[in-house]
């Protein structure tokens, strides 16, 4: 398996390199530049020239790309002129050490724990490791400075990670908690009224653009609900109210839920539609398999058949889906974050595209790329762990 993982990592690096070249080239070909907004001020020509030189925009494209790539993989040093805010020292190695330990722990769990829940244990270990790594994150890479004057790109991007994770993982949790039971129940009650209703609702949710869902939720659950009840249950925009830091713990929870519910719900509605459809199909496959027919013939109770024998196998395909969703969560929910004024990476990304802020756009695209590559590998490994029929060659 080690050879498999190594091979996948090498492929992943090549993919990321290709991705960076393609995105960089597309950005250049898209026309316009970060200083175009200044061009319409008739007296800005000398200023534009000075910034062009300072940011290296007058350099050949291959040099610009090389500079970006070299910086992207270079840790910040205190003498760096690009405005890094932290240096790379022993303290900064903590996240790396933690991740290495997590990988070792994962390997241990995979090879030593011989039961069907080891996949969940692996996920848990990774989650704790990532959480711990982020809590101690003081490492910084030199991702350059934002062309729009927003400071070091590393700081800018990582200042948005918390918000994106809060929204993304809440939505994922909601979608899983509702979508999977829904899919299972639909499969068990195939062609029932509930199944038909669930199928219709899933297709409606799937085919409705997320901005329509988001705005509809704003109008229904924030505006109208307040008009009807006279109580403000949900906020239209923002992540917290000003003064959040001075609130009591309970007030903070209430404030968070009031802001988080609608954006999380709008993402979850679409995701849970997908999960329920996948889960239903997967469950139906398993329910119609021979070994379950045998189990029924042997007189096993229905609940035992479904929970112990069918569900475990039917959950396997969902792992891939969830893994990829986690990768996209890292990239942020572009439309939802914009509509709900949520301060995440997705919103930063859309602003950066609009202002032709190459360093920020490149950094976020690469984060998403890295996330997808890693989560793909994780999904493949988990798949093998959960399904003994899968072998790594």
């Amino acid at each position: 398996m080690l050879a498999y993982i190594t091979r996948r990592l090498v492929y992943g690096l090549v993919t990321l390199l290709a991705l960076s070249i393609i995105v960089f080239t597309l950005l250049q070909l898209s026309g316009g530049g970060p200083l175009d907004r200044l061009k319409l001020n008739p007296r800005m020509a000398p200023y534009i020239q000075a910034l062009t030189e300072q940011w290296g925009l007058d350099q050949p494209l291959y040099k610009q790309y090389w500079t970006w790539l070299r910086n992207y993989v270079s840790p910040c040093t205190s003498t760096d002129p690009q405005g890094c805010t932290s240096s790379f020292g022993l303290k900064n190695a903590i996240p790396i050490i933690m991740l290495v330990l997590a990988i070792a722990a994962t390997a241990f769990v995979v090879y030593s724990v011989k039961n069907h829940w080891r996949g969940a244990l692996v996920l848990l270990v990774w989650f704790v490791a990532i959480l711990f790594a982020f809590r101690n994150m003081s490492i910084a890479f030199n991702w350059g400075i934002s062309f729009q004057g927003a400071g070091p790109v590393w700081d800018l991007v990582f200042s948005r990670v918390g918000a994106t994770f809060r929204l993304g993982f809440t939505a994922l949790l909601l979608a899983l908690m509702v979508g999977i039971p829904l899919g299972i129940y639909q499969a068990i009650r195939q062609y029932s009224f509930f199944d038909q209703l669930g199928t219709t609702a899933a297709f409606v949710a799937f085919s409705t653009p997320i901005f329509v869902i988001a705005l509809a939720l704003q109008i229904l659950l924030a505006l109208k609900l307040e008009q009807w009840t006279g109580v403000k249950l949900f906020y239209v925009t923002g992540m917290n109210n000003p003064g959040y830091g001075e609130m009591s713990f309970l007030q903070q929870i209430a404030d968070t839920l009031q802001h988080l519910t609608l954006p999380a719900l709008s993402i979850a509605l679409i995701s849970l539609a997908g999960y329920s459809r996948f889960q239903r199909a997967s469950m139906l496959d398993v329910l119609h398999s021979d070994y379950l027919r045998t189990a029924k013939a042997k007189g096993l109770p229905r609940r035992r058949i479904i929970v112990k024998h069918a569900l475990r196998n039917a959950l396997i395909p969902i792992v891939t889906l969830v893994s990829l969703d986690v990768a996209f969560i890292i990239g942020g929910a572009i439309i939802t974050e914009s509509i709900f004024g949520w301060p995440g990476i997705g919103r930063l990304y859309i602003v950066a595209i609009g202002t032709v802020d190459y360093p920020v756009v490149m950094s976020i695209v690469m984060i998403i790329g890295i996330g997808i590559v890693i989560m793909n590998i994780v999904a493949d490994i988990l798949y093998g762990v959960m399904d003994p029929r899968v072998r790594y060659d």
């Binding site: 405005g83 400071g151 509509i339």
Partner: protein, 597 residues
């Protein structure tokens, strides 16, 4: 039989209830929408025609209450708080900065003229504040208000002005040094500051718009240290917190020196102001409807304005004003236009006049701006309406004249002249404009084609290389003579890109038009930049306006709408300012109506 759910009936019941709730919500929403729509039309007309002074007539004459906060919606977030570094030119930086920045001048929201802020009066030749010296240089003197102090109590002094100048001129700092780099000498006093420019220029009017406190900033890293926090305030509020992606919060500056001219009370009234960042227009409007924000200045889409005007019956006040951004049609005179349209005849005056008579500006305003403003007959209106001669009013919408001029152009050029129109495709108003043009040019019998582009391409490669035939975009006007003088740079025959801003290439060395008019315009532009005499400047501006109109170098269309709305039953003292000062220009005078006894 074993069941996964306790009861199927319960599940069904829950679903039915949920369905009923959703259905009820939908039907109720529908009713509300209908009502809203039906009330939209009437207030729209009322508000548009309402004079700006309406605010003062509705202001209470009693003592205004202190305390409370206001929330302002902003569709953009500042990349930095520092107005002197890249990104600091973003409009929202100054909108928020109205709370804590102060400088020599500000723009009055009622008169839309420059008025003194930190200084006792704005220097002019007539009041002795501006002197043209014998050696051709020009000296400007500021008398700083005695009462003006930073929020930590330190008096604002000439040293702060000198420090500001030093920062701007520091060759290692990425600051815009335009005009400041012509300052050759300074004199500093405790409450005075004097500087000498190498040559007379009216651009001095807008210098030192923001002053930096020397005692707080000296010794810091100016580029890195002031992006996410702010130096001591000279305005009514001071910086408190910036939650990235969410809001900026300002709190009251207890050392602010201004008093309310109406009541004599010390300003500001509010304890704090929050700027909430809501990038999506529709979400911003929803937040306003939900009263999560008290004040909003949405993009000027007529749909947004109509939504806001529908709230007037519930306590909102909406001001729709003609903003400083003026859209204009323009011709490319350089060789690049032939790559776009080989049958371009822009060098022919009759062709340009034919185009001018083809355009129905009233229809454009009616269709794009719902008739909320008048068509523009001169670019001068966007800067200083009192100086405008409405020079483009000579080109009325007249299909017969358009046909006649077009016939003459074809005859003179010896080819079937045509028009290819280019502008930005990601601007709804401009797309609508291009659709209207199809019909207008069709009626005039002028062959016409639309070739719209993404704004990044249009303002990039197309603009740089002059690769358009008939184009359309906007410039931004500003009060005072300096802005008006400055706009003439974009027609300067001696200023072709990339060093200059004459993107039209009218009269430039590679232009298809080089005649007496272009030569005279170049002289006028030089004279404008060499005098500070008001009368002389006005005469030059008038002459320049006539030359540009008579030669149809451009064709002004309309000023964009600039709506502002406030929940008037919550916040008093609000007056929209459609200039670069923005909606927050008088935030020190805002107060909570609901706190009034």
């Amino acid at each position: 039989m074993n069941r996964l759910w306790p009861s199927r009936k319960v599940g069904m019941l829950v679903l039915l209830v949920a369905f009923a709730l959703v259905a009820a919500a939908c039907s109720s929403g529908g009713t509300a929408t209908t009502t809203t729509t039906s009330t939209t039309a009437a207030p729209a007309a009322t508000t548009t025609t309402a004079p700006p002074a309406t605010t003062t007539t509705t202001e209470p004459k009693f003592e205004k209450p202190y305390g409370g906060e206001a929330v302002v919606a902003q569709d953009q977030e500042p990349p930095t708080l520092n107005p002197f570094v890249p990104g600091g030119d973003n409009f929202v930086v100054s909108i928020i900065g109205q709370g804590y920045f102060a400088g020599v001048q500000e723009i009055d929201g009622f008169t839309l003229e420059l008025v003194p802020e930190l200084v006792t009066e704005l220097p002019t030749v007539s009041n002795g504040g501006v002197t043209v010296n014998d050696d051709g240089s020009m000296t400007v003197k500021y008398q700083i208000r005695d009462e003006a102090v930073w929020d930590d109590g330190t008096p604002i002094s000439g040293d702060d002005f000198q420090f500001t100048l030093d920062i701007i001129l520091d060759p290692d700092l990425p600051t815009d040094k335009t005009t400041y780099d012509t300052i050759v000498d300074t004199k500093v006093g405790p409450k005075t500051f004097e500087y000498t420019l190498s040559a007379p220029t009216v651009l001095y009017e807008l210098l030192f718009g923001t002053i930096i406190p020397k005692h707080a900033v000296e010794g810091t890293d100016f580029v890195a240290d002031w992006n996410e926090k702010m130096w001591p305030s000279a305005g009514p509020f001071k910086f408190d917190e910036w939650a990235k992606g969410e809001f900026v919060h300002l709190v009251k500056n207890d050392n602010y020196w201004k008093t309310d001219p109406e009541t004599g009370q010390k300003l500001p009234y509010l304890d704090g102001v929050t700027f909430k960042f809501i990038p999506e227009t529709e979400a911003g409007l929803n937040a306003f409807k939900a009263r999560e924000v008290d004040i909003i200045n949405p993009p000027p889409a007529t749909e947004s304005i109509e939504q806001l005007q529908a709230l007037e019956s519930e306590g909102a006040r909406v001001e729709v004003l003609a903003g400083p951004i003026w859209e204009h049609l323009n011709f490319q005179f350089g060789p690049g236009r032939l790559e776009r349209n080989e049958n371009s005849c822009n060098e022919n005056l009759n062709m340009r006049k034919a185009v001018a008579h083809t355009i129905d500006k009233q229809l454009i305003v009616d269709e794009i701006l719902a008739g909320q403003v008048e068509p523009l007959n001169s670019y001068v209106d966007a800067f200083s309406p009192t100086l405008s001669q409405e020079a483009w009013s000579q080109y009325d919408f007249n299909v017969d004249k358009a046909k006649e001029f077009y016939g003459m152009a074809v005859e003179e050029m010896g080819k079937d002249c045509s028009v290819v129109f280019s502008t930005t495709s990601n601007n709804d108003a401009r797309v609508k404009l291009s659709e209207l043009f199809v019909d207008m040019f069709g009626k005039a019998g002028i062959p016409y084609e639309n070739q719209l582009e993404d704004s990044q391409i249009f303002f990039g490669e197309t603009l740089d290389n002059g690769k358009w035939d008939l184009g359309e975009w906007a410039w931004v006007g500003s009060p005072g003579l300096s802005g008006l003088i400055g706009i003439h740079d974009v027609f300067d025959p001696e200023g072709p890109p990339p060093d200059g801003s004459n993107f039209y290439r009218w009269g430039t060395p590679d232009s298809s038009v080089q005649d007496d008019a272009t030569a005279r315009f170049a002289e006028i532009r030089d004279e404008m930049n060499a005098t500070v005499d008001d009368k002389e400047l006005v005469a030059l501006i008038n002459e320049a306006e006539n030359i540009l109109a008579d030669n149809v170098v451009i064709f002004p269309l309309y000023s964009r709408l600039d709506p502002g709305a406030v929940w008037e039953d919550t916040i008093g003292g609000f007056k929209h300012n459609p200039t670069s000062a923005g909606i927050t220009w008088n935030m020190e005078e805002w107060y909570r109506v609901d706190l009034a006894g």
